[in-house]
């Protein structure tokens, strides 16, 4: 009788301790596995120089090196962007790829418009579509000015048509 009683208690203890072990190992494992859901990402702002270096009214193409952290490795990528400064000091930064099919457009000094070499899409200095097949205005990069340094986030946000 006593033995059977002990037996039941022992079985219960094994169950409880076993569950504890599984819980500890399981939660460590689950945390590790689910880690990508909570990891903070590098925002990726790139400092591209003094903000007052841009002449208002004329878009300028800038080249920059994007140094980003991909988990444990740091990668460098050369990219470019078009920067338009306005008289009031506001700055707009355009993705250098045409929203139509991704060709690299250029600023036409004579006509004062952006022109895409591939399918003749044309855009105004503020990015609005003037003519051609582009479905929308030029895509933009988010930008901000801190301590007179122009910082950009080289990921496109869609322009408005």
């Amino acid at each position: 009788m006593n033995d059977a009683h002990d037996d039941g208690l022992i079985r219960k203890a094994i169950g409880v301790l076993g569950a504890l072990i599984m819980a500890v190992l399981g939660s460590a494992g689950l945390g590790f596995l689910l880690s990508p859901l909570v990891q903070k990402r590098d925002e990726g702002w790139v400092d591209v120089g003094p903000a007052d270096a841009f002449k208002p009214g004329t878009p300028v193409q800038i080249q920059f090196v994007e140094r980003t952290r991909d988990s444990w490795s740091v990668t460098e990528k050369r990219s470019s962007a078009w920067v338009l400064a306005l008289d009031n000091g506001q700055i707009t930064v355009f993705d250098p790829r045409c929203p139509h099919l991704g060709c690299p457009f250029r600023w036409n000094i004579l006509d004062k418009r952006f022109q895409c070499p591939c399918h003749t899409a044309a855009f105004a200095a503020d990015g609005a579509v003037i003519s051609g097949p582009s479905p929308r205005a030029l895509d933009r990069f988010e930008s901000k000015i801190e301590d007179n340094r122009l910082l950009i986030l080289p990921r496109p946000t869609q322009g408005h048509s």
Binding site: G29, L34, V38
Partner: protein, 227 residues
């Protein structure tokens, strides 16, 4: 449910053979010496689990190994805990296996009919040492690099074949990228496969022969003098 499982899987027969087998009674504190084997198995399971997790965020190249280990420790959720468990698990494993080995040695448990069990056990002991030697290099920090440099140079001391053995271990004349991938492959593929196989053999033999009863002095009449 139980009936269905019984008829479809035969688990009851397996359960009976594995778990309801009788164990000779060991009285007092001596009985606790018998947990060392199963404790080693438990730590192996911990090492396997944490090892699988670590492998998900580890890059076995000299350029990235160190950074990926730091990434695990600093960025991954529970990464510090999992890496800590794996590190201390390795130490515990060596201690437990050494104690288990001592218990079997001093109790003469390797004698008839358990000679084969002993041999698989010695193989497992060597595998544990192989695990710690190969695992040590993986973080690619100063300690890892120099301990492995010394370790492979020890192998190079062997007469005639030594230098060749060292070159094969290192994957070349110098320690570098090939050394790291080699050690990694051994640590996560070759050794675990061999260990799983040998654990299966070891456990089969333990169950087949039964666990040794604690030895008694000859004066107690339990021993046998006719030899």
């Amino acid at each position: 449910m139980r009936e269905w499982l019984k008829s479809r899987t035969g688990f009851e027969a397996i359960w009976k053979a594995l778990f309801e087998r009788a164990i000779p009674e060991a009285k007092g504190p001596v009985a606790w010496l018998y947990v060392l084997g199963s404790a080693s198995l438990f730590v192996f399971i911990v090492q396997f689990t944490t090892g699988c997790l670590l492998a998900m965020s580890y890059a076995p190249t000299p350029d990235h190994a160190y950074d990926s280990v730091r990434f695990i420790s600093d960025q991954v959720l529970a990464g510090r805990l999992v890496r800590g468990l794996h590190h201390w698990g390795a130490t515990f494993m060596v201690v437990l296996v050494a104690l288990h080995f001592s218990r079997v040695y001093f109790m003469g448990a390797y004698k008839f009919p358990r000679e084969a069990t002993w041999i698989t056990g010695v193989c497992l002991l060597l595998l544990v040492l192989g695990f710690s030697f190969t695992g040590y290099l993986l973080p690619w920090d100063q300690k890892a690099y120099w301990a492995t440099a010394v370790g492979t140079n020890i192998a190079a001391q062997a007469p005639v074949i030594g230098p060749s053995v060292a070159a094969v271990l290192k994957g070349g004349e110098e320690m570098g990228a090939a050394t790291l991938t080699r050690f990694y492959a051994f640590h996560v593929l070759v050794l675990p496969a061999l260990t799983a196989l040998l654990i299966a053999c070891h456990l089969f033999l333990v169950i087949w022969h039964g666990i040794t009863e604690p030895p008694a002095r000859e004066e107690d009449g339990a021993g046998d003098r006719r030899l």
